[in-house]
Amino acid sequence: MAITPVAQPTESVAKWEGSVEELRGLVSDRAMTGETLLLNMGPHHPSTHGVLRLLLELDGEQIVTCMPDIGYLHTGIEKNIESKTYEKGVTLTDRMDYLSPMSNNMVYCLAVERLTGLDVPERAQAIRVICLELARIASHCVWLGTHALDMGAMSVFLYAFREREFILDMFEMLSGQRMMGSYFRPGGVWRDLVPEFLPALEKFVDFMPAKVGDYESLLVSNPIWIDRTQGIGVVEPEEALNLGMSGPTLRASGVNWDIRKAEPYSGYDRYEFDVPLGEHGDVYDRFFVRMQEFRQSIRIIKQAMKALPGGPFRSQNRKFVPPPRAELGQSMEAVIHHFKLWTEGFSAPDEEVYVSIESPRGEIGCYLHGTGDNKPRRVHFKTPSFMHISALGAMSKNHMLADLVGIIGSIDCVLGDSDR
């Protein structure tokens, strides 16, 4: 059957970026003759979750090539951290993966702690675990709400954000900020749990399982939801590993890889939890795995709450951690430490470390290279969204354009995370 070209190729393609020749090799040859259509999706598009731009080659409604173009949110965070002392760097890491700032804080603090050999008290570790799991729940709430919204299920968004607000209120109790708390600091956390935190947390773990049940009852057996998600964007386990996937997106393909289990940090080995796995690696399984993770996170929080150790909430090593205010009036030493740490910070050796943790999106890693001075030479973050966005092309091949929206939602990408 002869296909009539819909648009004159030279015209529609040339508008994109100078020359048609630039596209040769990136898109199929059929696009050159105008047999297939080139379409630009984003960077302003409601379902690309931020400023992701996709260049699509379409054969009718079918996707032939999907090329992600990132960088619309490149902020230069890594470069900025190089000009800050180690403790000030924490503030900037908040703004990378803005759906779970705590995970970014965590990976950066772990890297600094490993570089300098700083100890973290038990209580601080447990507080960190509680916060990380709360952050995971909050992040999954946003994912669930927006993913469902993209697929036409409006009400889930409103419910999921209601619970997220509760978590943000708890973060505000701890750090004074709803989202960008910078609560984790090298050596522990900024301050101890405030008295009203634990009762609020107890209330939260009591009501949250029922709310997760509510979300599930809206979606799990909803025929429209199933039709739009099952069998879409399938990734085989080997392919998933080759594409560098991690986190729930990888586990939905059935690969049992969770850094909390594989390389426990912050005392995760002390808690009992399961790693939910999918079977088919499609959009539905990725949804399903994250829904299970809600429950597992609550389980971890319950255990951490029960076994919350006493003691200091931050390392007592005064070469790295400023003394509390009360000490300043009594000890000259404390005044000196305070002055030193707040003016020039602490220094770290000229060595390199790489630390990775399990963020709600997958493996987030921090490479940190010290200089022997008070600022790092190089900081680099290996982020899950970057990996997952680069896998979009493989995942969306031969799917309908409308399914692409579901696939983007299912990898839960955050552009701040990928572009930094």
């Binding site: 409601p46 960088g71 902020t75 900025n80 954000f161 209601r162 989202m179």
Partner: protein, 163 residues
């Protein structure tokens, strides 16, 4: 009173000035562009979600198309790569159009004084209201929007001709 009597077929008479009537209509149904850049956009979403419910101020409809929207909330940091896109979106909006700069990054570059970030969206767009904060709380954003509505209410017809 007017509504009830008009439903009963008894049409009352309201006298007002054209300016007041139009400004009233503009403030009461100002549709923002569905557009988010970075972290601030998440707080913007919270503002529209259950707890803060922006629909109370006539903003329940976020339009994804710039042609159908009156207000662009620049929520987040504007990078050099994004700036031309943002300007194009603004140019595509129909007058009257308003710009609200949400957050420190959009207002002045925030903590990112570096090679990648436009140091304030006012370098490329005329901003009506700035909202400070990193990210601003939903209450702050609502306050910004109410401030904008106050501003719109005081517009005179001479401004429309100029604008």
């Amino acid at each position: 009173m007017g509504v009830v009597s008009s439903k009963l077929g008894n049409l009352g008479v309201v006298t007002t000035s054209l300016e007041d009537a139009i400004n009233w209509a503009r403030t009461g149904a100002m549709w923002p562009l569905l557009f988010g850049l970075a972290c601030c956009a998440i707080e913007m979403m919270s503002t529209q979600a259950s707890n803060y419910d922006l629909s109370r101020f006539g903003m329940e409809l976020n339009r994804a198309s710039p042609r159908q929207s009156d207000l662009i909330i620049v929520a987040g940091r504007v990078t050099r790569k994004m700036a031309p896109v943002l300007r194009q979106l603004y140019d595509q909006m129909a007058s009257p159009k308003y710009v609200l700069s949400m957050g420190d990054c959009a207002s002045c570059g925030g903590v990112y004084n570096n090679y990648a970030i436009v140091q304030g969206v006012d370098e490329i767009l005329p901003v009506d209201v700035y909202v400070a904060g990193c990210p601003p709380r939903p209450e702050q954003l609502i306050h910004g929007i109410l401030t904008l509505q106050e501003k719109v209410k005081t517009e005179r017809w001479t401004d429309w001709i100029k604008g």
